[in-house]
Amino acid sequence: MVSWVQALKKTRNVFASAIQGVISDGAEIDELTLEQLEVALIRADLPPRLVAELISDLEENQLHGTQPPKEVLRDGLRARLVMQETDPFDFGVKPACILLLGVNGAGKTTTCAKLAHRAADMDRKVLLGAADTFRAAGTEQLRLWGERLNAPVVSGRQGSDASAVAFDAMDAAHARGMDLLFIDTAGRMHTKSHLMEELRKMVRAIQKRDPEAPHGTWMILDASLGQNSLNQAKIFHDAVPLTGLVITKLDGSSKAGFLFNVHQQLPGIPVLFTGLGEQAEDLVRFDADAFVEGLLSLGSGTGDD
């Protein structure tokens, strides 16, 4: 399996963050570097108020502390991103049903395919449910992925009832003795209450087959988002309690610093995976250390050679 650092190798230059040039180990920092640091953190889409906090921590450390500033920053970030490590595919039941949710264009369908690939690699029997019956050719996209990956897909026609597709997929997963069922849902703006209601309806439909389902509700967040990501996550969480997050498109130049806000406001929802490219294998387990190092570009694999 590809590691985070390996996956980033092809785009490593992108991760050469401004921060790296600003502070070196043990160096003193002055007013100017503080300003540069602030800019670098804001450019990474960290919430502005958190940036203000971090900068004041650095100032405080300057006066009374003994730690090198780089460590203060790294510790400060790492302490704000504490999540438990678990096996995301281990639900203790079979079939386990996972709903993939998010706004339009977040990368749900691609992620669905990547998850199937990953799970199949781990010898799990996977079924895909193409419940994006709204977008033109939305189910077609997943069906094509299914063909490429040799994974069975249950789908409905465009315009058909997404809940019915979800229910059928559940049925099929039981009948065929599958381990995992990933259901790809249509992208929806969190501000549209009737679409959020549709999501709740889908959950009720699934529960008719298995009252414990869905076993996972994972929200897909685009790394290039800004501070609106928090609203998105909050409102989705209100509609269908989320059990995991997936950050997509982290192979671009965006660094997804908004994650600190989401994590602070919705504690206990782990970030499970990160999408790092367009291919089926471009999905890695989220690694908080690597994420923070990526922000600071202090990691060994991201700029040494």
Binding site: T11, N13, V14, V39, I42, R43, A44, D45, P47, P48, R49, V103, N104, G105, A106, G107, F134, R135, A136, A137, G138, E140, Q141, R143, L144, W145, R148, Q158, M189, H190, T191, K192, S193, D222, S224, L225, G226, Q227, N228, S229, N231, Q232, K249, D251, G252, S253, S254, G257, F258, E278
Partner: protein, 450 residues
């Protein structure tokens, strides 16, 4: 957000009244608040810096001696400056060539294909012969998606042959369009990272080979700080001519609009506001400025009300109201019209100000309002037609039956009847008023009350 910004600005300026002119010292805190608000709206840090410097220069020495509310005056300056930066409204595409060609560019998932469908429909409505070209050869079923959208829009579509490169497809489409007399050709390209040199070269080739005069960058309204580097790269490599902002039906403040506009200097041509093909609208800088600053979008609310509420139905109801014949049936229709406007929270978000109401309080109030109107609806629906027409029939026994039928309590039924009576009383007053001052004026009043 505006609540926050207004509150803090009002606090900052509280002691300023009567001090004469604004000084650097006076505006320092205020500008810090503005800076924070803009950063939280995802405006690029450099754009924020320049913007704040500009506002500082402008407001310095401004007369606040007699201003009742320096805070409001200050925010108006901020707003006007931002509006100016956002550029002109209703800029058109470059139509100097025939056929006119548009290349759609952008990152993954911003809505290029959907927007291509919307644009096709728009030009078709102008009476143009439109060709949509599916140049996204990487995403599975992307060409299929465009095919379906083109069909919905009623325009022709051209996709790649097996093994065909994007450049070759572009040239073939261009020749096809000339040969068959198309007026508009829209090239939908695949999403790409601005840092992927090879793929950016591919679209740069496409734009030069097709000789397209319109090179449009599609940007997600919720995008963060990197919007600027994306726009810069596409601008350098392809020479952008315009921007389209998508997903404005969400609640992102849309700072990316200001960032990308100021960095590229390209006009914002249109905005995407929904999933349906008609959800493509002209761009209004003043509304966008409101949105970025988090001020209520009153104009949009009014427009939404106009399109959603059935005008004929309203006129009919108005007539009934003035004839004193308003019954519970009318009341029910009123409730249903209100519902069409969207959720109460949405409506409240579009309303300006309310500086002392927190977001939570707002949500709570909206929820209560919503629950109540839902309950009222259920109650009226549990009544017989006769009861709806003649509410005075509803005695205590009927009240019990209605409450049971609608799953409410008798108290709720009483509440409804009380509110209905009040509305009736008011319309009677209006009727008397109308008699006294003539129909037109009274109608005007009734309208403004709505």
């Amino acid at each position: 957000m505006f609540d926050q910004l207004t509150q803090s600005l009002q606090k900052t300026f509280k002691n300023l009244r009567g001090q004469g002119k604004l000084s650097e010292e006076n505006v320092k805190d205020a500008l810090r608040e503005v800076r924070m608000a803009l950063l939280e709206a995802d405006v690029h840090f450099q754009v924020v810096k320049d913007f704040v410097a500009k506002v500082r220069e402008q407001v310095m020495g401004e007369d606040v001696l007699n201003s009742v509310s320096p805070g409001q005056q200050f925010i108006k300056r901020v707003h006007d400056e931002m509006e100016a930066l956002l550029g002109e409204k209703k800029v058109d595409f470059d139509r100097s060539t025939h056929p006119m060609a548009i290349v759609m560019l952008g990152l993954h998932g911003v809505g290029k294909t959907t927007t291509t469908g919307k644009l096709s429909r728009r030009f078709k409505e102008e009476g143009k012969k439109v060709l949509a070209v599916g140049c996204d050869i990487r995403r599975p079923a992307a060409v299929e998606q465009l095919r379906v959208l083109a069909e919905q829009a009623g325009v022709d579509m051209l996709g790649p042959n097996p093994g065909e490169t994007v450049q070759a497809l572009g040239v073939r489409a261009k020749n096809h369009a000339v040969l068959h007399g198309y007026d508009v050709v829209i090239y939908d390209t695949g999403g790409r990272l601005q840092i992927d040199d090879e793929l950016v070269r591919e679209v740069a080739d496409l734009t030069s080979m097709t000789g397209a005069k319109n090179k449009v960058l599609v940007i997600d309204a919720a995008m963060g700080q990197e919007s600027v580097s994306v726009a810069e790269t596409f601008n350098e490599r392809c020479g952008l001519t315009g921007l389209i902002l998508t997903k404005l039906d969400g609640d992102a403040r849309g700072g990316a609009a200001l960032s990308v506009r100021s960095v590229t200097g390209c006009p914002i041509l249109m905005i995407g506001t929904g999933e349906k093909q008609e959800d493509l609208q002209p761009f209004y800088p003043d509304r966008m400025a409101n949105r970025i600053l988090g001020m209520g979008d009153v104009i949009s609310l009014v427009e939404k009300a106009q399109t959603m509420v059935d005008e004929d139905e309203m006129a009919r109801m108005e007539k009934r109201m003035f004839s004193g014949k308003m019954d519970l049936e009318d009341f029910l229709k009123q409730l249903q019209q209100m519902k069409k406007l969207g959720s109460m929270t949405q409506i409240m978000d579009m309303m300006p100000g309310m500086p002392n109401v927190s977001a939570e309080q707002k949500a709570k109030a909206a929820e209560q309002g919503q629950t109540q109107s839902k309950r009222f609806e259920a109650i009226i629906l549990s009544m017989t037609p006769r009861e709806r027409q003649r509410p005075q029939l509803i005695n205590s026994k009927r009240r019990q039956r209605i409450a049971a039928g609608s799953g409410t309590r008798v108290k709720d039924v009483n509440d409804l009847l009380k509110q209905f009576k009040q509305t009736q009383k008011m319309t009677k007053k209006l009727k008397a008023f109308k008699g006294g001052m003539g129909g037109k004026a009274a109608r005007h009043m009734a309208r403004s009350m709505r």
